[in-house]
């Protein structure tokens, strides 16, 4: 999986490309938690080019959301493909994770 990092007005943006599974989730977790340790409180995860997510990927997203909440920070998830969104729905995560349709909508939430 490729992760493209950007920063827009103090918001850390992670664009995921490929597959977020037990193989790749550790690397992503490390990146996110490094940023949180460095004081980042605003994050957007762009799912546009993510083709696949497993429970290992959901685990990282949940962990990051909880960590940011404790720091009074905020995370937004945007632009999911239908199959990926379905995984969040089956897991019941769509009820408490901020999932929005577009990057614009995610940026406007801050």
């Amino acid at each position: 999986m490729e992760i493209i990092e950007e920063n827009q007005g103090g918001i850390n943006i992670y664009k995921l490309n490929g597959r977020l599974d037990s193989n790749t989730s550790q690397g992503f977790e490390k990146k996110i938690f490094q940023a949180i340790d460095d004081g980042s409180k605003s994050m957007i995860i762009d799912f546009k080019n993510l083709d696949y997510i497993s429970s290992a990927g959901l685990r990282v997203i949940l962990k990051a959301t909880k960590a940011l909440k404790r720091e009074d920070g905020k995370i937004m998830l945007c632009d999911m493909q239908d199959y990926v969104k379905e995984v969040f729905e089956i897991a019941g995560f769509d009820s408490f994770l901020p999932i929005v349709v577009s990057m614009d909508e995610a940026l406007n939430a801050f």
Partner: protein, 150 residues
């Protein structure tokens, strides 16, 4: 005509998830399965395979996990066989899906996904092997055909 059955062996290592995905995608393509069907089957297999690797073996030795994927009429039928300790994932507790973010626990989620994405997940213990059989009706995941113009 393309073969309606494929068998392969994976080592007890998470890096084999890529081989699992490639084998399944290749089979899906040759059978003309929908992208959604391949995605959902891939996820179910991924979760059960990861579970076997994480909890199935009480030694450090390398084990082999055998997988067979077949198309039987409108059913995609997958067998996963391992020589690990007896473990029936279908008995796993369903996570509480109504919980808030603070209470949310991730345990059992993989199995929950697998059960939801497949029509059937059955477990058997046979001759010191764990055998999982998964079934999925391929017609249900196909996009609705466009109606013919009148």
């Amino acid at each position: 005509m393309a073969k309606r059955k494929v068998s392969f062996k994976l080592k007890s290592n998470l890096s084999e998830l890529d081989a699992l995905c490639q084998n399944l995608e290749k089979f899906g393509q040759s059978m003309g399965l929908s992208k959604k069907c391949v995605f959902e089957t891939n996820l179910a297999l991924d979760e059960l395979f990861t579970n076997i690797i994480s909890y199935g073996f009480d030694d450090k030795n390398e084990h082999t996990i055998s997988i067979t994927i077949a198309l039987q009429n409108d059913d995609l039928v997958v067998h996963i066989e391992d020589d690990g300790i007896p473990f029936n994932p279908t008995n796993a507790e369903t996570p509480d899906l109504e919980c808030s973010i603070e209470e949310c626990r991730i345990g059992g989620l993989g199995i929950h996904l697998a059960k939801n994405l497949m029509d059937e997940v059955c477990y058997q213990r046979c001759k010191d092997k764990n055998i999982l059989t998964l079934k999925k009706n391929i017609k249900e995941t196909e996009p609705q055909k466009k109606q013919a113009k009148s």
